[in-house]
Symmetry: C2
Subunit: 430 residues, 2 copies
């Protein structure tokens, strides 16, 4: 009879409850697949008595999660506390330093401290696993770390935040405004009370920084990511995009090119012919392009109790099977540290939307700025806006350097003709 893998759970919120339910429900199958039973032996959380819908009294209770690192009857610690620093980070450091495998769903911590933790894990020869940190139940960490490992990957991009995708999809389907959909998403529990990490793109950027490291063999570099959220996308943007044959999606995009590593999170226009255009609601999806495999596409549920628990327990099964190996697919010392590639060198098409005073000369002023910056316009539409006396001008540029578009907007900065900050979204062409 093989020894069970004894697991301690730090954090028993939605995901922790999911992990407990999953191990209860699929116990026999997991034992066959893992080669040994996986048993939760101890839990720790802020509030012991909160009603979680399941009985946790059968597990040993630990007030201070940090003691799990040293517990002699715990083989592996699963951290579901969250937060880049604080108790989660202490627990990670102490668990790995104690020579114990560590599993986490904490993208913020991996984005900010993953290299430090991977180095400790490496030194102690124990696994640091974080499949649940990116794209929930989709095995995309494994897909990049192992499945596509033979490839030089040129780019990785995807829809990495289900809350934003839900909001954009709802705006698209109902023609609603951002604030209305956000309020409803909060009411339904799809968005946090403080939604800024999601809607400002920070959560997607955490995930992108991790994917980029695995894809390109580079050190995680969260600080280098250009981040734009979806707060300023208005329903008219989505309507204009639709009229032009596009959908608006918040895309995290990493690219390794001759100038270095480019990483950006931004709302962009995705043509209907692109697989990301069909990723709706709270789904997540990731595309990776390798020099031999071509384009790989992964899609699934990116968050929630079941999918996240599925990823956590997959990591536990890997550990039970004896899988070790470097957290970022190679030793930390082997990870490259490329320069940050400037966005301005990139070439592409862009969508621009201006809210303008509805008076003579405005269109001339805007198009002159485009001309002077060397931006060529592919299509343009002007519409009156009901009520406030303003008009809306939306355009799509021809392919050109991104810096020219930025230059054009700089030229218009402070113009009395503009009734608000212009909206710039890049177009994700194939």
């Amino acid at each position: 009879m093989p020894q069970p893998l004894r697991v301690a759970l730090a954090g028993v919120g939605i995901v922790g409850v999911g992990v407990i339910k999953l191990i209860d429900t699929n116990r026999a199958l997991i034992e066959r697949r893992a080669g040994r039973p996986i048993e939760i032996v101890a839990v720790s959380a802020r509030d012991r008595s909160r009603d979680r819908g399941i009985d946790i009294s059968r597990f040993a209770w630990v007030d201070d999660a940090a003691t799990l690192a040293a517990a002699h009857d715990v083989d592996v610690v699963v951290e579901l506390v969250g937060g880049a620093d604080g108790p989660a980070l202490t627990l990670a450091r102490e668990t790995l330093s104690a020579g114990k495998p560590f599993v986490t769903a904490n993208k913020a911590m991996i984005a900010h401290h993953g290299l430090e933790l991977a180095a400790i894990a490496e030194q102690r020869g124990v696994p640091l696993k974080y499949e649940a940190a990116v794209a929930g139940g989709i095995p995309v960490i494994k897909g990049l770390r192992e499945g596509a490992a033979a490839n030089v990957i040129s780019q990785v991009f995807g829809i990495l935040n289900g809350t934003c995708n839900y909001i954009l999809t709802e705006m698209e389907e109902r023609g609603s405004d951002f604030t209305d959909v956000l309020a409803e998403a909060q009411r339904l529990g799809y968005a946090e009370a403080d939604p800024s990490f999601d809607i400002d793109g920070v959560d997607a950027a955490h995930k992108l920084s991790i994917l980029a490291s695995l894809a390109f063999g580079t050190a995680v570099d969260f600080g280098a990511i250009q981040i734009t959220g979806i707060r300023h996308v208005i329903s008219a943007d989505i309507a204009e995009a639709a009229a032009l044959g596009y959908r608006v999606r918040l895309v995290g995009h990493g690219e390794a090119n001759s100038k270095g590593l480019f990483q950006r999170v931004h709302p962009c226009l995705v043509p209907l012919s692109h697989p990301l255009a069909h990723v709706s609601g709270s789904l997540n999806a990731v595309v990776a392009e390798g020099n031999f495999v071509g384009r790989l596409f992964f899609q699934g549920r990116g968050a929630g109790e079941g999918p996240t628990a599925s990823a956590v327990v997959a990591d536990l099964i890997d550990i039970a099977r004896g899988e070790t190996g470097p957290a970022f697919a190679m030793p930390v010392a082997s990870l490259a540290k490329p320069a940050t590639a400037p966005a301005g060198d990139r070439r592409g098409r862009a969508y621009l939307r201006f809210t303008v005073a509805d008076r003579p000369g405005v269109l001339a002023e805007i198009t002159a700025a485009m001309r002077d910056a060397g931006v060529s316009i592919e299509s343009l539409i002007q519409r009156g806006v009901a009520g406030d006396g303003n008009a809306l001008i939306a355009m799509v540029t021809h392919t050109g350097p991104e810096r020219s578009v930025v230059d054009a907007l700089d030229r218009l900065d402070g113009s009395q003709s503009l009734a608000g900050k212009p909206m710039l979204m890049h177009i994700l062409d194939d």
Copy 2:
């Protein structure tokens, strides 16, 4: 300096050349990811002097591939010879029996002899890896064996044969007939001179049997698969399907239900809202549904030099990293052997197409057979067929037991009204 993983290649056709090119091109990155160099040291093929576009004289040449199993300077054998039996099987048995890891892209051999080989591998404690055997470069073996391992999987299905998908997509886009598109596919090298393994669904069934084993924890059972190819799909079927909002795809479908294991390869109608409807040309895609993760969707290139080589080398990197573990995700003795679930118990909608003599009473005869078998018709169309004096009747049934549709067709068997065998395709509803 870590020891290189020394690889022998048996078979240097398209995929073998791809593996050599890949290891040459991505050598440095592979060494970083694998933790050691991966070196091809020996090759074996039927014809030493054939022009392959690359120099293979730098590798040791072996006339009899079977000697690679015992070669003391070879750590792992990659089999790219093909064929379920014969030299490939001999090489597999001898390599694994010699306690050496074995990598193959050979779906026919794994479908027919995978359990025997896995048992040898298990006994000797060495890996048997076959990521390239299913869906080319898409890491779907790994996705099921490891990524979704925490889940009870209820069904796995997908587009597993790029040749058939190419033919069906071309028929759809150009309105061409099957035989014309097949001839062109052969001319372009997308279909074999003897295309029967592909177009009759056997290749897809090989792959399905492997996916089903991994998904359900059951022994590979190729013999239990109901197989229908695409030979009898006519352009009118594709046009009628399109008019009804469907595309025709060859789908391999495995399901674990209370009656046992159901496995079928068949052309079916996929609604445009389904992700499989957008898998075009030679792409492959696999969907798996787990009880916690929900629906996972994987898509990519299912064949060809680059994608297949990517999967072979991913297996080599796993081996270089020290990954071992059972070939079918659990010990062979743990694999269940469920009964074959009868198709007749399944409920669903179906598409039926009859080519009939264009005379009074034919429609009455067909609809009476439907009524007598208890099949309810959702929609029906009759069209005259140019030239031969026949007419075409296409219908979609309401949801009902599959056995009723079979019963209806049995009632019409031998009818003088039918100008050919009716076409039955199931509808892949969500």
